[in-house]
């Protein structure tokens, strides 16, 4: 039950044929998938830093090629922060908290009341790609999505050596 690197690359691109995708979805995950997946991602990015864990469609935790520090990094090469910090605090933020701003993304009367709910959009300050959208109540602090336990993930889940990390 394994797939070729080419198939995994198609999976990453969203161009994998449905039959194979369906089989991947309904079968237990193959052992080598994570390594193949990361390899496919690595081929897509222009930087030399090693991808440790993908965080989103355009965002990764990488091991800096120079310092071996683990950083959160955008596709384009923009570095946000240390992997334990909340990258959103280093992003360009656009808050939709008026009816007019909501009307840009929803038809009239079909958007939330901004007194109850606002949209906070997080963009890369360098390339402008949207990384995330939150829909909290207006006063809610910026959400720190999660802090992955990468050591445990590598050692106990996918059975790979943990990449080196400078403090």
């Amino acid at each position: 039950m394994s797939y070729t690197n080419e198939q995994v690359a198609h999976l990453v691109e969203g161009t994998l044929d449905w039959e194979t995708t369906f089989r991947m979805l309904s079968m237990p995950k193959d052992n080598s998938r994570f390594a193949q997946y990361v390899e496919a991602l690595q081929k897509k990015v222009s930087f030399k830093d090693r991808i440790v864990l993908p965080l989103g469609p355009h965002m990764y935790i990488v091991q800096s090629a120079k310092t071996k520090q683990w950083l959160i990094k955008c596709d384009c090469g923009h570095e946000f922060c240390d992997y334990r910090q909340n990258w959103k605090l280093h992003a360009a933020i656009y808050v939709r908290d008026t009816e007019e701003a909501m009307a840009e993304v929803y038809p009239k009367l079909m958007a939330p009341d901004t007194q109850w709910q606002v949209y906070r959009e997080y963009y890369c300050p360098t390339c402008g790609v949207m990384h995330d959208v939150e829909a909290p109540t207006p006063w809610y602090p910026v959400i720190h999505d999660f802090e992955p336990d990468i050591e445990a993930f590598y050692k106990d889940w996918v059975g790979l050596p943990v990449p080196e990390r400078a403090a």
């Binding site: 039950m1 449905w18 369906f22 089989r23 979805l25 309904s26 079968m27 237990p28 193959d30 052992n31």
Partner: protein
């Protein structure tokens, strides 16, 4: 010799996805099975090749046999493939305004139809297929008929005219009209149909118009819409395929009129108006064949089991009749077509076998090797173990005589793959790992079979199990062991059984219409008579359609035997029962009483007499009309009893065979050389070109005068 004098009258065709089977029957009941690789580009060629293959056994050729035939029935996957591959006509759809997306949404459940349970509950795998009609060729028109059939908003005719024009401009090659509740009140839809026709005439465009009331006037909007679309989308192109088949027959001198197996279990002409109902036909043939055999053997309760490469299909015949499902799903579409009820599980002889890397448990399917057999066939290009590989390793199958020696199997290659993929990770020997796979499959199938019978409230001891399909006889012992059937029957022509069954089917049209009749137990005679009149109205309407179909084939109205039926339930209950009407026409209170009695008798038989609940009142939910004309059917062979000892020339030798943790020498018999009355005690393997029948130790089989093997356990 009798060979020369017997004429060949009946031909059954099963054009499957990978093989095209033909089944010729002589008037003395002798038969031959032919096989050829299917040819999706030109089915008629595959049928021709398969015929040549079959007739070679009798030293006959196509040009002198085709003119002799009086009956020929086709079943195949042409229509189904056309739908699955979305290669139909560009259809335009007119529906109620606001309901333009209904077809695309497919009741949401179309996103997981045909999935195994574990995928059905796994939302990520749900997927909407491309709709048969895109929203861009769908137009809504203002109209509303309510659930009681009252027109609440009249049809806006100018919108229909505009829609017609737009659909033509969008490239529609046919127009389907399906309005809400039209089965209850057809007026608006018929009006829309007439306007569309007028408008097309004005535009000078000659394309067909399909109104759902003219085809499938049944409740459930998605089903009715899908079925009518299917008719427009797939039927005409499929008719071309069938015409090609018919033309090739004609070219070789055939005089018969080609018929096609339909979902309701009868056969219809390829010229029939409603061809959508030929979408599934192959597996139904087996059920029809079982019914005919059951009648010959005096068995009225039969469990039909068909095991092919990818799936295991089960259908039940109770008291001599099979159940009909009125809103089945096929090709991932909900449809309102009467379909012979069948249950399938996605495990077959070609299923792939894999090991779950985490739980180390074996998993069969859901995908299968299909015609590529398994890794034992080096040319297959496969490297995943299939069930067939396990069979080859354990000596069930003859590696040198697979499909009559058409392909050679490599036992060592299969062994190597089983060792690496299954045996080593489990710490087992190759034999035990392979035997484990077979046991798992047998257990899966027998549990499924048992559950299917007992879940419907029956006792397996009252059933005879018929086992057929290309791979059926290999597994028969495995999935019937311990279930406790009255008898287990394997026809010698198991591999061509579906084709045989098709040849057994009646020339029969069936039309259904939803009706809503409800009467309390204590209804007055006047109300009963009135209800009968409504039912009769529906019957008359359907009878006219049935007769129309036969007239296309040159029959006269008086040649047609009409069989009215109805669907009835206790008021408020959810499941209706289909009943053959005890009255040929209905009009009086007395007729109503007889209709009710027939229902109550059936209810008592299917469930229990004590479960009958006449105090709830009775509803009729559907009117059914079937019409048949006489046709030539195959007769069963009748051989003289040759005693229990098989003739020595039937014995081909022995082969090592592994079961229950030991190798034994199984005697190999040639199926064609065995005579009626012969008794064979396991371990034995009975081989023919197309079928391998496994009789392990602890089992014995006898062959009867009809060339049916009866398998039983001996302890």
């Amino acid at each position: 010799m009798t060979v020369a004098t017997s004429s060949i009258q009946v031909l059954g065709i099963d054009a499957g996805g990978t093989m095209t089977d033909t089944f010729f029957v002589r008037d003395d009941g002798r038969f031959v099975v032919g096989k050829a690789q299917s040819n999706p580009g030109d089915e008629s060629l595959a049928i021709y090749n398969s015929s040549v293959d079959a007739l070679a056994h009798w030293d006959r050729n196509v040009d002198d046999v085709y003119p002799e035939l009086v009956t020929c029935v086709y079943s195949g996957t042409a229509m189904l493939n056309r739908v699955l591959m979305r290669k139909g006509l560009d259809v335009g759809l007119i529906c109620n305004k606001g309901f333009e997306q209904v077809h695309t949404m497919g009741r949401a459940l179309q996103s997981y139809l045909g999935y195994a349970l574990e995928d059905r509950i796994h939302l990520n795998t749900h997927r909407y297929d491309e709709p048969l009609v895109p929203v861009s060729r769908t137009r809504g028109v203002t109209e509303r008929t309510d659930v009681q059939g009252r027109v609440v908003i009249p049809l806006r005719e100018d919108e229909v005219r505009a829609a017609t024009k737009e659909l033509v401009e969008a490239g529609s090659k046919a127009i389907v009209i399906c309005l809400l509740q039209s089965h209850k009140n057809e007026k608006s839809e018929q009006r829309a149909r007439d306007i569309v026709k007028e408008e097309l005439k004005k535009l000078g465009v000659d394309i067909p118009v399909f109104a759902s009331v003219d085809y499938y006037p049944s409740r459930k909007e998605s089903h009715r819409m899908n079925t009518t679309i299917l008719e427009a989308y797939g039927a005409e192109p499929s008719r071309q395929t069938l015409k090609k088949v018919s033309d090739r027959f004609k070219k070789h001198g055939a005089k018969f009129d080609l018929r096609v197996m339909a979902t309701h279990g009868g056969t219809i002409s390829w010229k029939a108006k409603e061809l959508a109902r030929t979408i599934v036909s192959g597996p139904i043939g087996g059920v029809i064949g079982s019914k005919l055999l059951g009648e010959a053997l005096g068995d009225e309760n039969i469990a039909c089991s068909d095991i092919g490469g990818t799936s295991f299909d089960v259908a039940l015949i109770t008291k001599g009749s099979f159940a009909i499902k009125s809103d089945p799903d096929m090709a991932r579409l909900v449809l309102s077509l009467p379909l012979v009820a069948m249950d399938s599980v996605g495990a077959g002889a070609g299923s792939f076998v894999r090991l779950d890397p985490y739980s180390k448990s074996l998993k069969l399917g859901p995908d299968s090797a299909g015609y590529r057999v398994g890794t034992c066939w080096p040319e297959s290009g496969l490297d995943t173990v299939s069930v067939s590989d396990c069979h080859v390793v354990l000596g069930y199958l003859n590696p040198n005589n697979f499909l009559g020696g058409a392909i050679k199997l490599d036992v060592q290659r299969a062994r190597d793959h089983i060792k690496v993929q299954i045996a080593d990770p489990l710490g087992l020997s190759v034999e035990d790992a392979a035997a484990g796979v077979i046991e798992l499959l047998d257990l899966t199938l027998s549990e499924y079979l048992r559950a299917n019978i007992s879940a419907k409230g029956y006792n397996p001891a009252e059933f005879t199990c018929f086992s057929y399909g290309g791979a059926g006889p290999v597994h028969t012992y495995g999935y019937t062991e311990g279930v406790g059937f009255k008898d287990v029957v394997v026809p010698a022509w198991a591999a061509g059984f579906s084709a045989f069954g098709c040849a057994c089917a009646d020339f029969e049209y069936r039309y259904d219409k939803s009706v809503d009749l409800g009467l309390p137990q204590t209804a007055s005679d006047a109300d009963k008579a009135k209800a009968c009149c409504t039912l009769q109205e529906a019957w008359s309407e359907l009878a006219a359609k049935v007769i129309d179909e036969f007239v296309i084939n040159g029959f006269k109205a008086e040649d047609v035997m009409l069989i009215p039926g109805y669907k009835m339930q206790y008021m408020g209950q959810l499941n209706d029962l289909e009943i053959v009407s005890p009255v040929s026409s209905a009009g009086t209170a007395d007729d109503w009483n007889r209709i009710v009695d027939a229902f109550e008798n059936t209810y008592g038989r299917v469930y229990a007499s004590s479960a009958r609940s006449p105090e709830l009142g009775f509803s009729i939910t559907g009117a059914i009309m079937r019409g048949t004309v006489a046709t030539q059917k195959p007769v069963l062979p009748e051989d003289p009893d040759a005693g229990p000892t098989p003739p020595p020339e039937a014995r081909l030798g022995t082969r090592p065979f592994y079961r229950h943790k030991k190798w034994v020498d199984a005697v190999i018999w040639k199926m064609e050389s065995l005579k009626a009355g012969n008794r064979i005690v396991g371990p034995a393997i009975i081989e023919s070109d197309a079928t391998t029948f496994v009789v392990p130790d602890g089992f014995e089989t006898t062959i009867d005068k009809h060339r049916l093997f009866h398998l039983k356990e001996v302890k």
